[in-house]
Every structure is written in C-alpha cells, then in structure tokens.
C-alpha cells in the first residue's frame, strides 16, 4: 500500500469515527470533537487528492581539488560557490536587478584586477567611501560587504580564487587565476604574487581617501601589497 493510500485510509477512519460519535453520542463536547474530526479528516483527504509533489534537495556540491585541471574548471566551481556557500547572490546581482541590495557585478572581472577583487573580498574596508554629510573632517563610510574569508561565510583561499575565476570568465575576460595556485589538502596556502599591476579602482571606489594598507598575508593569502589611493 502506498503512503498516500495509507494516509487516505487514516483520513477516512478519522471521518468515520467523527460520524459515529455524532450518530451515537449525545453529550455535547464529544459531539464537537466528532465534528472537528470530520472537518480535519476532510481537509486531509482534499490535500491528499491534489498532486503530491515533494521537493527534493539537489545533490550537494563538493569542492574537489583533484578534479580541477583547467582555469575553466575553477570558474565552474566558482559559479557554484557564488550562488551557494559564498552567499554573493544574496546581495549582488549579475545584470540589473530591482531586488539587488549591492552593486551589480556584471562585467566586474573586466573592471577590476584579480588582486583588487581579492582584496575587496577579504578586506572590504580597504577602500571605502568618505562621509561628508556633517561638519568637520570626513568619516569613514564602512562598506556593508563582510569579510568573505571569515565566519560566518568563511570561504577558503581556494574557493575565493575560484570565485575570482568565475567573475573574470563571466565578464568575458581571460582567467588569470591558475589551477597551480590551488592548495592541495594539507598543503600550506600559497602566497600569490600579483600577476599584474593592480588596476585603477573603479569610479565608484575612487572617492576614497589615500590609504596605505598592508594586507595580512596569513589571512588573505597574498603578499603584502601597497595600495595607492588618492
């Protein structure tokens, strides 16, 4: 007997019991219980008569280092991380969107260098707006972007590099992240030297105060680098 048939049988049993109570018991309270049983049994039967569809979870994606052979493999994994563990799509869109709460990332791989993206993900306060909406010296206007390599998101260095590969590929740019940069399990995180000079910050980020910032190599997985703002 299928599960639905069994549940239908139970529903019919509940309705039958309710009818028997109404037929043979005169005391008011049990009669009300019988009435409620008929209502609930009927509801269950109606719900069992509509198409029964369960929502099964998709297979869980694993970051399998061994499977990465090419930069494209990294981009495929990066895309999955972008829409799942990385939580990027919670706020960012790829292309215009009314519901996006943070900047549209379409073409971001063409606008920013990999180092700049890396820094934006791991040190979101490195380049920040200044708030002039008050008297006196301007104040920092902190970015709403979380540190993506810390809890609760906590992407690993490998995962961050894969996301960068995805952002570059999605923007039609050549992927500058190499599979050789991926750390194998147990292997210490490699120190990734900038492949090329940092690109100029995008116009949106150019309204920043001059700041020399030393990245935490252990945390960010990059060599210490000097960022020249205005």
């Amino acid at each position: 007997m299928s599960e639905v048939a069994l549940l239908q049988l139970i529903g019919l049993g509940v309705i039958g019991t309710g009818i028997l109570i109404l037929l043979f018991i005169q005391s008011r309270f049990p009669r009300v219980i019988g009435f409620v049983m008929i209502v609930l049994g009927t509801f269950s039967l109606v719900a069992l008569s509509v198409p029964q569809m369960a929502s099964l979870p998709p297979a869980e994606e694993k970051f399998d280092v061994a499977s990465i052979k090419t930069a494209n493999d990294m981009a495929v994994i990066g895309q999955k991380i972008f829409f799942s563990k990385g939580q990027c799509a919670l706020c960012h869109s790829i292309g215009p969107s009314e519901s996006a709460r943070c900047p549209d990332l379409k073409g971001i791989g063409a606008k920013l260098s990999r180092e700049f993206i890396y820094e934006s993900l791991t040190q979101p306060q490195a380049y920040i707006y200044l708030d002039y909406r008050h008297e006196g010296p301007p104040k920092d206007y902190p970015a709403r972007m979380p540190h993506i390599n810390r809890n609760p998101i906590g992407l690993s260095n490998n995962e961050i590099l894969s996301v960068i590969a995805f952002l570059q590929q999605m923007s039609g740019e050549p992927i500058t992240v190499s599979p050789s940069e991926i750390a194998m399990p147990g292997q210490p995180v490699s120190v990734t030297a900038p492949a090329r000079a940092p690109a100029l910050p995008s116009p949106a980020k150019s309204k920043t105060k001059g700041k020399t910032k030393k990245a935490d190599a252990g945390e960010a997985g990059l060599v210490a680098m000097v960022v020249h703002g205005r």
Binding site: V32, S44, P142, M145
Partner: protein, 616 residues
C-alpha cells in the same frame, strides 16, 4: 516530642515534595535528554562536529520538531492574541459602562495564567530539542542573535510581572483612576507581548530572508540580522492573525458552552460571547489578506525564486488549499452573521432574505474562482485535448489577477454582512441619514466595479504593472471603503432608534458549530502557512547560507503535510479545551458553594460581586 514529630513530619513532607519535584525534574531532563543520550543517533562521533542528531524511533527529528514547534507557535499566538482581545473588551466595557464586557475580559485573562505556562513549557521543550537535534544551526543562530536572546528573557520577566499585576489586581482596580491604571497595565501587557512576538519572528524570518552579516559588535550584528526584509511583513501579519485567532477561539469556546448550556441565562451569555468573538475575529480577518499580500510582495522582492517556489512551484497547490480554508472561513463568518440577523432580531428574516441570498451567491462564485488552479496536472492526451495545461475557459480564473479580484470582493461582501448586522433592528434618526446611506451604497457599488475593472485590465498589462499598481489599488480601495463606512455607520447608529431589541440565546445549535468551524479553519490556516514558510526555504536551514544536509532536507508532499497539520490542529484544540476546563473548574465549585446552583454560567475568573449584581 509532638513538636519534634511534627517537625520531622514537615521535613519528611518537604523532602517528599522535594523528592517528587526532583524525580519529576529528573524524568523531564531524562526525556529531554534522550536526544543526547545513547538512544539518540549522532551524525558524527565527536560532539563538537555534530551537525544533527535524530531519534528515528520516535518518527524522526524533523517530525518531532514540527509538532512541538507548531504547538508552541499556536499557543504563542493564543497567549498573544488573548491579551489583545481581553484588553479591547475591557476598554469597551469601561467606555460603555457595560459590566459584561469587563467580565468577559477577565474571564479570558484568567486563561492566560495557565496558557502562559503551557506555552512556556512547549517553548522550553522546543529549545532543548532544537539544541539537541540541530546543534550546528543553533550555534550559528546563537552567534548572531545572542543579544536578542537576552532581551527576549528580560521581556518575559516584564510580561510576567505585568500579567500578575493585571490579573490579580483586577478586582481591586474596578473603578475610577485605578481602573485607568489597570487599563494601562493591559496596554503594557500587550506592548511587551508584541515585542515578545517580534523577537522570535526575527530569528525565523532571518532563516527565510537572511542578510549578510558584516563585521561589528554583537549588538550591531544582531540588529542587522533582525532587520531583514520579511521581518516587518511577518510581524504585522502575525499580529493581526493573533487577534483573529483570539477572537475565533473565544467564539469557539462560546459555541461549545452555548451548545451545552442548561439554562436560559447561560444560553444568553454564551450567545452574546460568541457574537463578540466572531465580531473581533472578522474585524481582524478583513485586513489580514492585505498583510499577506505585503508579505508575499516582500518575498518576491527579496528573492524571486522563493516567490516562484511558493506561488508557481511545488507549493502552488497549497494556495488552492489556502483558498478553500479562507473561503470556508469567510462563509462561516458570514453564515454566523446571517443566523444572527435571522434569529436574534425578530422580523428581520424576511427583510434580509434576498440580500443574504445574493451575498451567498457572490461568495460562492468568488470562492470558485479563487480555488481554480493555475495549471492542471493532466495526461498528455488530456493536455492535447485542452490545448495545453491551462483549461481554455477556467484557465483565466487561475491567475493572480482573478484571485486578487475575488479576494477583495469577498472582503467587501463580509464587510457588508457586518454592516447589515450592525444596522438590523435599528432605525436611523439623523437628518442626514438618507444621504449617508446613499453614499455608503454608492461607495460599495463603485468600489466593486473598480475592483472588477482593474482585475480584468490586469490581464492586459505586464505583471509588474499589475503587481505594483493594480493589485495595490484594489487593496487601497477596499481599505478606503472599510475606513469610510465604519465611522459613518458608527455615527448613524449613535442616534439611531432601536425598533427591535436583540434577543440573545435563540440561535440554533448550528450557530455553535459554525463558531467551532471558524476557529478550526483559522488554526488550520496557521499550520498550513507555517508549512509554506518552512518549505519555501527548500533545502536550506538559512536560505542560501546554511544548507540542510540532514536526511530530512526534502519538503514533504502536501498530503503528508496536511495530515500533520490536522494532527497539530487537533492536539492544539484539545490543549485549549483542557486549559479552558482547568480554568473554569474552580469557578464551578465556587458557584455551587455560593448557592447559585448553576443558575448563572460558571465563569472563568468571574467576579462573584459582578455575578451577584447581575442576578439581582
């Protein structure tokens, strides 16, 4: 020596009591500790890395949590709805000088003491089970929301103190300035209750619509997570729904007592109580669909995929069931109004027979449209004959434009029933009465026409225009009618002459069953929408953030879920009946001792002085 023995006896008794208490606590701890004991199956060996625990022998962790969480939520809705209901009744009684409203308010406030304990008990069980079954999720949520946990605890203390003062101070704060202070206590009770409701709402809504938590103090992080996109829509929706639940449960209680009433006084009293409960339930029910619409809009705004899962995905049939339940609720509420007009107001039956029939037909037609599915599950052959999965004729009723239109029309019709009942048996004496009545008639007519026109027009415009402008306009029109006609009628009735006195206690037994049916529908609706909200997260504990990787990550089919909803509804009804029974038990004894001998209804929390003043 005797003293010595007595002292020994006291000590032994005390020890006995302590022993029993400790044994009880140990038993409770043992039961609650099952998940963490050897019986429970760890997902992994070391406790630090355990993500899930389970008790498959008891139906599985998900099903256990489902029942306990649902019961806790329903009880919480009840204990938050009842103070609103009681406070409103107390204000009416105070302003109108009608003691029976005050008595009714007290009768329901008495329930709070026992129902708070039951709700807290289920809350405690739920918390232990959550910590046991979902340690990883709970650690994550605790990390984010810990400051609000503390606020929640503080609010509970404040709420408890206020409830004690409100309940135990009732009889000493009956008149004058102290009565105003008592009303203020009732207000405070509701304010604390409101915050007690919205704090856990933030935890639940964060799971459905999380925001990214940036760096900052723990307070800043908790606040950022609390202020998530669906928090306020859910707060408003639940607040109104709690009023509806409180009203209809009051009605159901009155219905059951009315059915088993043995004297004319009891019948009169419980008939009147049923009327008040139904009135408050309907009063809350009218704006509820608007709050629901806002919530769905925010869900779509937040994540279109989640909206589609709800409205067009595997949960789409759920909304057909929702339409059925709401339809029955609307019919039940209207039917009760119509019975009231027919039986309580002698001579009104013939006068209102035709409008009642017309309203019944409109309601049934609207319900038919609302319940029309968007697409049909058909075989290939059937689909070929239909020319697709949409029925060529009925398919047009399956879309949101039609459903929004009929939902608004049903609200209008119910409001008309309410106004009709209000005006029945009275004759307006104001000089401007004719103009006011014509204006009200015109408002209803124009509103209905505009709603239908916008509904039809909605088929020919892009969805975004319909959602952002047409549907909003329909809602605003109905709200305008509600907010215009209600004060106008109140003004008219202020000077109206009563032509036929309302006679209480003459309703047929089916009126009592209609009240019970309404309450069951509201409870079922709450359980149904609980399943919808939970299932809309699909395989995520926290949508897009923390994946459910347990064996229960799937959302069960509607039929299976409906059986659980029915079970939860039944258990909740029995719990509420038990709470009512316990609360009235002592009063029955008092009534007998006082020699009333059942002449007066046994009132939960009924003041003897009030009873006596009524009997004299």
């Amino acid at each position: 020596m005797r003293n010595h023995d007595a002292s020994h006896g006291r000590v032994l008794r005390r020890l006995n009591v302590w022993g029993l208490s400790i044994a009880g606590l140990a038993l409770l701890a043992g039961l609650l500790g099952l998940p963490v004991s050897g019986w429970a199956e760890d997902a992994a060996g070391a406790s630090a890395t355990v993500s899930y625990r389970d008790i498959p022998q008891l139906g599985g962790s998900r099903n256990i949590i489902w029942v306990v969480a649902q019961l806790h939520l329903l009880l919480a809705g009840f204990v938050l709805g009842v103070p609103i209901f009681a406070w409103l009744c107390e204000i009416v009684g105070w302003k109108a000088g009608e003691k029976r409203y005050d008595k009714l308010a007290k009768e329901f406030t008495k329930l709070l003491t026992s129902s708070y304990a039951t709700t807290a008990l289920f809350g405690g069980i739920l918390l232990f089970l959550l910590i046991g079954f979902y340690p990883k999720l709970m650690t994550y949520l605790t990390d984010i929301f810990f400051p609000s946990f503390l606020v929640y605890c503080a609010l509970f203390l404040l709420e408890t103190v206020t409830l004690y003062l409100y309940w135990y101070g009732w009889d000493v704060m009956l008149e004058g300035r102290v009565k105003v202070f008592h009303l203020f206590l009732g207000f405070l009770l509701n304010v604390f209750a409101f915050f007690i409701m919205i704090i856990p709402n933030s935890w639940a809504t964060f799971q459905a619509s999380p925001v990214v938590i940036a760096e900052g103090s723990s307070l800043a992080r908790a606040w950022a997570a609390t202020w998530n996109p669906t928090w306020w829509p859910v707060n408003v929706h639940r607040l109104i729904a709690n009023v509806v639940l409180g009203g209809f449960i009051c009605g159901a209680y009155a219905g059951v007592r009315y059915l088993s009433a043995k004297s004319a006084e009891e019948r009169e009293h419980y008939d009147w109580m049923g009327y008040v409960g139904n009135f408050i339930g309907v009063f809350g029910m009218l704006p509820l669909p608007f709050a629901g619409y806002w919530l769905m809009r925010e869900v779509y705004q937040y994540n279109q995929q989640m909206g589609i899962t709800l409205m067009g995905g595997f949960l789409s049939w759920l909304f057909i069931l929702q339409a059925m339940l709401i339809g029955v609720l609307f019919l039940g509420a209207n039917y009760y109004f119509w019975l009231g007009i027919t039986y309580r107001i002698p001579g009104a039956e013939m006068k209102y027979k035709r409008p009642i029939m017309a309203m019944l037909v409109i309601l049934l037609l609207c319900l038919g449209v609302w319940m029309t599915p968007h697409s049909l599950v058909a075989s290939l052959e059937e689909a070929r004959k239909l020319g697709g999965t949409h029925h060529p004729l009925l398919g047009v009723f399956g879309v949101m434009s039609a459903k929004m239109t009929v939902a608004n029309l049903m609200i209008l019709v119910t409001f008309m029933s309410f106004i009709m009942y209000w005006r029945a048996g009275k004759e307006e004496t104001a000089t401007w009465a004719k103009v006011a009545k014509a204006l009200m008639g015109g408002l209803f007519g124009v509103a209905a026409i505009v709603i239908i026109v916008l509904g039809v027009w909605g088929y020919f415009v892009p969805a975004i225009v319909r959602i952002n402008y047409f549907s909003v306009a329909q809602v605003l029109i109905v709200l305008f009618v509600l907010l215009t006609v209600t004060p106008l009628t109140a003004l008219l009735m202020k000077t109206a002459r009563t032509t036929t006195e309302m006679v209480w206690g003459r309703m047929p037994p089916r009126a009592g069953y209609a009240l019970v049916l309404n309450a069951v529908m509201v409870i079922l609706l709450m359980t149904l929408m609980g399943y919808a909200r939970s299932s809309s997260r699909v395989h995520w504990h926290i949508y897009g953030v923390m994946r459910d990787s347990s064996p229960y990550a799937y959302s069960p089919a509607l039929g299976y879920a409906a059986v659980f909803m029915s079970l939860n509804t039944f258990i909740f009804c029995m719990l509420v009946a038990f709470i009512f029974w316990v609360a009235t038990m002592g009063d029955k004894g008092h009534a007998k001792d006082a020699g009333h001998g059942g002449a007066l209804p046994a009132m939960a929390g009924g003041s003897q002085s009030l009873d006596q003043s009524k009997s004299s």
